[in-house]
Structure formats: C-alpha cells, structure tokens
C-alpha cells in the first residue's frame, strides 16, 4: 500500500538546527528570577502603601509610581506564566506521563491488576517535582521524604520512584526476567538511509512473534551494531509477550525496568556487544521508547537514534544525531508532549498522515511511507542527519552486514493478587 500522494509541503522538519535549542534548567532559572522580582515588587508595593499613609499629600505622585509598579508586576507575572508554559510544552515529561497514566487508569477496559499497577506508577510519578520550581508543595514534600528515607544524595530519578512504588504493591518483581532465543543469522546489505531502516523495522513488526533484530557491521575501525525494536504487540499486562502494556508503562517510567528493554540488552549481550562497539538504535512505538531509554543507558556508545511514532521527546535523547518521525494525527507521539522541535542534534520529521484512522497513522507501514516521502526530498535536513549517522559508523564502506533475529519472552508473569 502506498499513501504517498502529496507535495513536499506535507512534511515539516523540526530541529537539527543549532539556532533553536531549549534547556529546562535555563527556563527554570529565568522563572526563579522572575519569582524573585515579583517578590521584590510586591514588597515595594507595600512600602508605597505605607508611605502613602504617612504622607497623604503625596497621593498623586505615589499613585503614579504605584500604577507603574503594578504594570511591571503584571508583566513579571505574565513572563513567569509563559516560562511555565514553555517548560511544560517543551520538556516537562513527568506531567505528560502523569496525564497518560491517569487517562489509561480511567479506562473501563483495563483489568483490575493493571489498574493497581498503574495506580502505583501514578504514585511514583507524582513523587516528582523537587527540581521543578512549578512542582506542588505536596509533591516536593513527598520527594523530600523519599530522599530522607534513603539517606540524602541526589534526587531520585523517576524510574527509581516508580520502581519503588511498584515494588511496594508486590505485583511484579523488578527487573523482570526475560528469555532471548536466537532464531537465525543471515547476511544482508548494510542499511545506509532512514528509509532502509524503516523497511527493516516494518519487516520486523510484521511477524506475529515478539522479535528483536540486530545488524552488525565490522570494519577496521571497530564494529557498528544496529538494534531494531518493535512496537506493542499485545494490550495485555504481564503475559509471556514482553511487547505489552506493562512494558509501555515501565519504559515510560524510566530506564532498565521494561521486560522488552531487558530483553534488548540480553540480545545485545548474545551478539557480544562490548564497550568498543558503536550502537545505532531504531524503534517503532514502544520500540522507540525503549530506544530512547537504551540511548541513555549506552550514551557513550550511541551514534544515532531513529524512532517512528514513539511516545518520546527528541529533547530526551542524548546529544547524538537523531531522526524522530511522528505523524500529527498519530496519538502515540502525543503522549510525550506537544512538539519535538528543540534539540540541535535531533531532527523531527512531522507529517499529517493522509488517513482519517488514528490506528492507520500509527502503523509502521505508514511511517515507512513517510520515510520514503522524506527520503525523496533531496534538499531536506534529513540528508545531513543521515550522513552524520551512517558516515560516522562506517557502514558506507561496507556492502554487507550480518543480521541476527531473536525471539523474546517474559519469564516472570504478573503475580495476580488472590
């Protein structure tokens, strides 16, 4: 099926532009200064009122100063509010995760044990906010308690908080146990474009089995490893197939928790992945989320990340060349945030997919079409980022690579309450 019918203007490219960057800490710094200015102006306002009482003859003069002061205070308030919007819109993932959990946990289709799991995760996620000046006093207090309980140190990561909350329920044991079985090794051509990665990703996802693919290319300057991670295959929770909602939930919570992520690391071990190897991560949907997590785990070795319809922000990725494909009418990328256009190292390829079906817009087949459309745009930034990814790992000098196909299974099922 080929839905590519439109002109180049259908696709929009964001990011990979050093002139457009956003760091949450910088926005928080400005917001903190604005709050301090607001406090000073409020104090000045009180001084003026006191002066007015002491010398009513200066009413007109003090009144005009007061009006100026009020105007400045309103400007400060509005600036602080805009910083808050910017922080949430750009980068605050925790609030988005919280929203996603709440929507999911409210669904009558979700089994009771899943609700318990999500509720625990919600509690863990809500323990955020210590480093966030917009966090509520309650969430900051809760995080302070968690830090105090573990004897101080850095604020706990979201993953730690969620893991602690989930472990407290006794529903599952983290990290989850998984089995990885190699199905086949075969020789194939080296991938040299995002479109070729999309085609391999599509092929992987078409299997009814939960599979992970790894391509390895060995050159004189070392080995490059391409890891392909599929999307969700089942809406169940805690079954044998790790490509399920439980993995989605845990992967959103942080690194190293989801069974599908643990399985990916096992598969890497099975091909002898070492500290000297270069890693390129490719993933669709949940696979993109896992790719994001692994890019943080193996940050020093990652040379590129390519995701299709994944619930991630480009800004969550480390500073490596990245391609983030997302359809405007695909609800899954919307779980992460509004738009992904900010880091200088990552290019977001956005398109309104020509289908009224949200499901169709999320399929890997549809993203392969978009990759093809983007690939045909010879003037795009895509070529520049592709060059960075593929030239850096040396695959352009090699005709073939070795592919390894693994089946993955969860060994520990959800412990249902009696």
């Amino acid at each position: 099926m080929n839905n590519i019918q439109s002109t180049d203007s259908e696709i929009r490219f964001f990011g990979a532009n050093p002139a457009v960057v956003a760091q949450l800490d910088e926005i928080h710094r400005i917001a903190a200064i604005l709050r301090a200015i607001g406090a000073l102006l409020e104090s000045a306002r009180q001084e003026l009122s006191a002066a007015w009482i002491q010398d009513p003859s200066q009413l007109l003069y003090l009144g005009s100063i007061r009006r100026e002061l009020d105007a400045s205070s309103q400007l400060v308030e509005s600036l602080a509010r805009d910083c808050e919007f910017a922080a949430v819109g750009y980068l605050t993932v925790e609030s988005q995760i919280l929203g996603a959990f709440m929507r999911y946990a409210d669904s009558p289709l979700i089994p009771t044990q899943a609700r318990m799991l999500f509720t625990a995760g919600l509690a863990g996620a809500a323990l955020g906010g210590l480093g966030n000046p917009f966090g509520s006093l309650a969430t900051r207090a809760a995080t302070s308690t968690l830090i105090a309980n573990r004897g101080g140190g850095d604020p706990p990561k979201l993953a730690e908080r969620v893991a602690a909350a989930i472990a407290g329920t006794g529903l599952i044991t983290l990290p989850e146990a998984v089995g990885v079985v190699k199905l086949s090794d075969f020789s194939t051509s080296c991938p040299t474009s995002a479109l070729e990665l999309a085609e391999r990703q599509l092929e992987l996802g078409q299997s009814s089995l939960p599979l992970i693919r790894i391509d390895t290319v060995t050159g004189e300057d070392g080995r490059s490893v391409f890891l392909y991670l599929p999307g969700t295959q089942t809406w169940g929770v805690g079954g044998e197939n790790p490509l399920d909602m439980q993995s989605n939930f845990l992967a959103m919570a942080g690194e190293g928790l989801a069974a599908s992520e643990v399985a990916a690391i096992s598969a890497l071990r099975a091909v002898g992945f070492s500290r000297e190897d270069r890693l390129i991560l490719v993933g669709h949907s949940q696979g993109g989320l896992i790719a994001k997590n692994l890019s943080l785990t193996f940050e020093s070795q990652v040379r590129g990340v390519v995701t299709f319809g994944a619930p991630i922000l480009a800004s969550q990725l480390p500073s490596v060349p990245a391609l983030v494909f997302e359809h405007v009418n695909d609800p899954i990328p919307a779980l992460a945030s509004m738009e992904n256009k900010y880091p200088a190292h990552a290019l977001t390829i956005s398109r309104q997919y020509p289908s009224s079906s949200m499901l169709q817009s999320h399929l890997m087949e549809s993203y392969r079409d978009t990759s093809k459309l983007a690939d045909s745009d010879s003037s795009s930034q895509l070529i520049s980022v592709e060059r960075q990814i593929f030239a850096d790992v040396g695959v352009l000098n090699h005709a073939t690579c070795t592919s390894h196909l693994f089946e993955i299974r969860r060994e520990t099922n959800l412990h249902l309450p009696d």
Binding site: V20, R29, I33, A36, L40, A44, I65, L75, L79
Partner: protein, 70 residues
Amino acid sequence: MNLQTQLLQALELAAAAKPSPELWSGPASSAIANRLELLVADLTALNAVVAQFESSHIVNGFWSSASLLN
C-alpha cells in the same frame, strides 16, 4: 530595605534573566527576551522617578520620616 533598593535589585535581576542563547533560543525564547527588555526599561524608568522623588524630599526637608527613606 527601602523602595529604591528593592527596585534596583529587581532591575539587576531582570537584566540577569535574559535567556542564554546556548541554552534557550528560538521563537518562545525571543518573545521572553523582548518582554524582559521591556521590563528592564520599565524598571529603569521607575527607578529614576523614585530616585528623583526621594532626593527631592531630602532636599526640601519634608517627608523625611516616610518609609521610602527607611
């Protein structure tokens, strides 16, 4: 802290709030930076008015007990 000191501090802070281009740049950052410049201009003007007000009262010798001069 008197009124003038508070406004001077607010002015210094507003000048320091400008987004660092290496850390935050783009349309939203530019909009914030432009409005911060307006804030700096407003606070500068307000400081000048208050300074004039306070000095005139010192010179004229009345209202010396007002909290503006505390």
